[in-house]
């Protein structure tokens, strides 16, 4: 029973230290964020959406978000820089999913192209092997009153 106040004091110190770490870690990036930092991240985000678009992804909406950041960046106040950074982080996250969707769309397109070519090739083989028989059979049915003489 006599040890309890010491234990409580230790817990209080640990919690206070943890809180201090959390507060400092959340304040530090805000204080250090500069226009150049945001500009560098803007370039990184642009590279990400360019890659996603090259993979077949749809990035028009992401490009608009980046454009809004790029236009307001020169001389932006610190609070706007923080907002810009959070927009860029979100765009970076969405760019990877746009890239994945683009790759899937490209694969689907190739499957459609392959299937179309396979069907046309199969038709070609069938025509080559049985086309004449079908054609003359149809011709004879259409002209059933005619007398045909094989020469």
């Amino acid at each position: 029973m006599e040890d309890q106040p010491v234990v409580t004091y230790t817990y209080t110190k640990i919690i206070a230290t943890l809180l201090l770490i959390v507060v400092l870690s959340s304040i530090h990036p805000v204080a250090a964020l500069t226009e150049d930092d945001v500009r560098a991240e803007l370039a990184t985000a642009y590279e990400a959406i360019a890659k996603a678009e090259a993979a077949g992804g749809s990035v028009a909406g992401l490009a608009t978000q980046l454009d809004n950041v790029a236009r307001k960046l020169p001389g932006a106040p610190p609070d706007l820089l923080v907002t810009d950074k959070s927009i860029l982080d979100a765009v970076l996250a969405e760019a990877s999913s746009a890239e994945a969707q683009g790759k899937q769309r490209t694969t689907n397109r190739l499957i459609v192209v392959g299937a179309a070519l396979a069907v046309i090739a199969a038709l070609g083989v069938v025509v080559w092997m049985s086309g004449s028989k079908w054609f003359w059979g149809a011709w004879l049915r259409a002209h059933n009153g005619w007398r045909v003489e094989r020469t």
Binding site: A43, A63, A116, L117
Partner: protein, 161 residues
């Protein structure tokens, strides 16, 4: 003989069908002649109504127009440089002059962007020009490169009265 002709005609029709089916899918979004646009518009966003007689230190407004027909999203930087009649502006290399201001925009393929700008010029003189150059972010070099597009505005500057 007729059989062979029939086979040939049918195969040609099938080949044409294959090309018609596949070509649009493979060429989706492809731009045959990619290019970018740069233009300077008046303060009201239309061609004309450009300021020609400026007063030193006094602000004036313009609108920049950038168009993207490159077939992909582009990150552009428009750079304004002050110059005069003695300097040569080239389609190949950027003007060797101090950068007065710059603006950035990111444009999707097939879209354009207008940027309202506010500028002022310094010392008085005749036949001065404001050169606008278009730079484009190059993913390979991670830097902006001169896009070989530029435009200019001629003006005279009078000292503040």
């Amino acid at each position: 003989m007729i059989d062979d002709d029939l086979k040939s005609v049918t195969l040609i029709i099938l080949l044409a069908l294959a090309v018609i089916a596949v070509y649009p899918i493979l060429n989706e979004g492809r731009v045959v002649e990619p290019f970018s646009e740069l233009g300077v518009l008046g303060a009201n966003g239309k061609i004309g109504d450009y300021p020609r007689q400026l007063v030193s230190g006094q602000n004036f407004n313009l609108t920049l127009y950038v168009g993207n027909h490159e077939g992909r999203v582009e990150y552009y930087r428009v750079v304004a440089k002050l110059s005069d009649e003695t300097s040569n502006v080239s389609d190949v290399s950027p003007l060797d002059a101090q950068v007065k201001a710059s603006w950035e925009t990111i444009i999707s393929s097939g879209s354009n962007s207008t940027i309202p700008v506010r500028l002022s010029v310094g010392s008085a003189g005749l036949n001065r020009r404001l050169v606008f150059e278009l730079w484009r972010y190059d993913v390979a070099s991670h830097d902006f490169v001169y896009d070989e597009r530029w435009t200019q505005l001629w003006y005279n500057v009078t000292a503040t009265g």
